[in-house]
Structures are given as C-alpha cells and as structure tokens.
C-alpha cells in the first residue's frame, strides 16, 4: 500500500476519505496526530475535565469511522470532524451542566488591535497613518514563513487567547466553519462573532510579526 497522506496532504479530502474507507492505518494515524491535540483543546472548553474531553475526542474519531461511508464531501473533512466533536462536547457539557464560556463574553468596548502608538498622532500631517508599519513578507523565504516553527508559534499564541476568542478563531480558521454555523452553535450574534474573530486574529498576527522580526 503506498503512503497516501503525509501531513502536507492531510488537506486532500478525497484521498483521506478513500484511505479511511479502506482501513489505511497510516492515514488514520496521520489524522490523529494532526488533529487530536486541537480537538482535545476545544473539547475542554465545553466539558469539565480533561478525562471527559479525552472521551469526547475518542467518541468523535469513532463517529468519524462509523460515518465515513456516509461522508459526502459537502463540507471539508476537517469541518465535518470539528462538527462531530462540538456536537458531542456540547451534549456532554449540557449533561454536566458546564456553562459554555460565552455567558462571560468580554465586553465589546473600544479596543485597538494594534497599539495606537504605531500610528501617527492627531498633530501629524497624516494622523492615523502608520508610524511603525508592518514589515513586508516579500523578503521572507516561503519555507521560513510557512515553517513548522511558524505554525507552532501561531498555535502557541492561539492557546493564550481568551476562551471566547480562541473558540471562534478555532472554529473559523482551523475548522473552516462559516460564520452562520459558528453563531448558531455558540449562540452569538454575527457582529459579536466577528469582533471576537477580529481580536483573536489580530493577536495571532502579532505573534507572526514577532516571528518575522526575529528572522
């Protein structure tokens, strides 16, 4: 059997689904390696304990295997995977009466996602324009920009986000959900969802910028 999915190819749904259907253990292992940690992290936002979160992740993978013959590719595999996880985690969370953190949504007041001192002041000829602009990425070699280290830096920054921002960024940018599905699942308005996404993404961008500055 030829190796079908290196982690770079995990994104290719057709190959992944075909491999799972024929019981390819190496592909299953790749998927488990790639996604179990982020799935576990997300599950922990909905349930009380780490061990219950691990059960949720196990149930999710079993549901993936048992449902793989019915997967029609209307969404991406990843979107589907996260949908199963969140449904299971929410069900467990409700049973445990764990409150999903959105009740404690941080206030949506004025907040600058880039420090104000990076822009020219009101007395400048061009107020509100960059004083300290971001560095162009054109000079950074792609293999450095998209390196494993860069991904890990972003993943580490994701960890440090407030819960509500982390969950929204995870569902939107990791799981690839559309905003309607996120709003419905988390009982958020579209505007609040976007504010959380905006603030979360801005902090991840700051982590990328720091990484780039070190290059």
């Amino acid at each position: 059997m030829q190796p079908v999915a290196s982690s770079a190819q995990v994104a290719d749904d057709t190959l992944v689904v075909a491999a799972l259907r024929r019981g390819d253990e190496s592909v299953f292992t790749e998927l488990v390696n790639a996604y179990s940690s982020p799935l576990l992290r997300l599950a922990q936002d909905f349930v009380r304990t780490r061990s219950v979160a691990e059960e949720v992740v196990q149930e999710t993978w079993l549901a993936v295997l048992n449902g793989i013959d019915r997967f029609e590719g209307r969404s991406s595999f990843k979107t589907w995977l996260y949908r199963i996880l969140v449904n299971k985690a929410k069900t467990r969370g409700v049973r445990e009466a764990r409150i999903v953190p959105f009740s404690s949504l941080e206030p949506l007041g004025e907040e600058h996602v880039v420090p104000a001192d990076r822009f020219r002041g009101p007395d400048d000829q061009w107020p509100g324009h960059w004083a300290e602009p971001p560095r162009s990425l054109d000079t950074i070699p792609e293999e450095r920009l998209l390196s494993r280290e860069a991904r890990q830096r972003i993943a580490a920054a994701l960890e440090t986000l407030p819960d509500s921002q982390r969950i929204v960024v995870t569902l939107r940018d990791v799981a690839g959900w559309d905003s309607d599905e996120i709003c419905e699942t988390l009982d958020l308005t579209e505007v609040n969802q976007r504010v959380l996404l905006h603030r979360g993404r801005a902090k991840l961008r700051a982590a990328l910028e720091q990484y780039v500055e070190e290059s």
Binding site: V113, W130, P133, R151
Partner: protein, 86 residues
C-alpha cells in the same frame, strides 16, 4: 508611497476593518474605500498580507502529537473498527 487624500480612510481604520473586509461583511461603499486605500498604501497591503498568512498558518495542523495513551486507545479502536468491517 503616493500622498494620501484627506477623504481616505486611515491606516488605523484599515486595521480595524480588516476582518470585516476579509469576511465579506463590509458594505459596498466601505469596501471601495478600503480597497482604494490599499491601492496607494503598501504598508496596509503588507498588513493584509500578514493577516492572510496568519489565517493560513492557523489552519495548518501544528503537528503536536496527542498524548500517547489517547493515541494508543484511538489506534486500538481503529483496529477494532477495521475488523468489524471485514
């Protein structure tokens, strides 16, 4: 960099509108202002490029392995599942 016109939105505003722009949530007039700003402001194009790269990186698995008892349990479950499929 060309000289900005006074009627243009500022870089600071671009930074705050970037998610609405990328999510397709800007009303048409604001989207045009946003895009007009990008035409002359290479710094904001760089910022947008940062944001797109960040989103792409966020979507890629970081290859941190799951804790090994969980991984072993999952592989056992996989083998059981495969057996039942015959």
């Amino acid at each position: 960099m060309a000289t900005p016109e006074k009627t243009d939105i500022t870089c600071q505003e671009v930074v705050e509108l970037v998610t609405d722009y990328l999510e397709g949530a800007l009303p048409i007039n604001e989207r045009l202002d946003f895009e007009r700003h990008l035409v002359w402001c290479s710094w904001c194009r760089d910022y947008l490029d940062h944001m797109r790269t960040t989103i792409e990186l966020t979507g890629r698995p970081d290859e941190s392995e799951p804790p090994s008892p969980l991984k072993e349990q999952l592989l056992d479950a996989f083998r059981d599942w495969r057996r039942t499929r015959g």
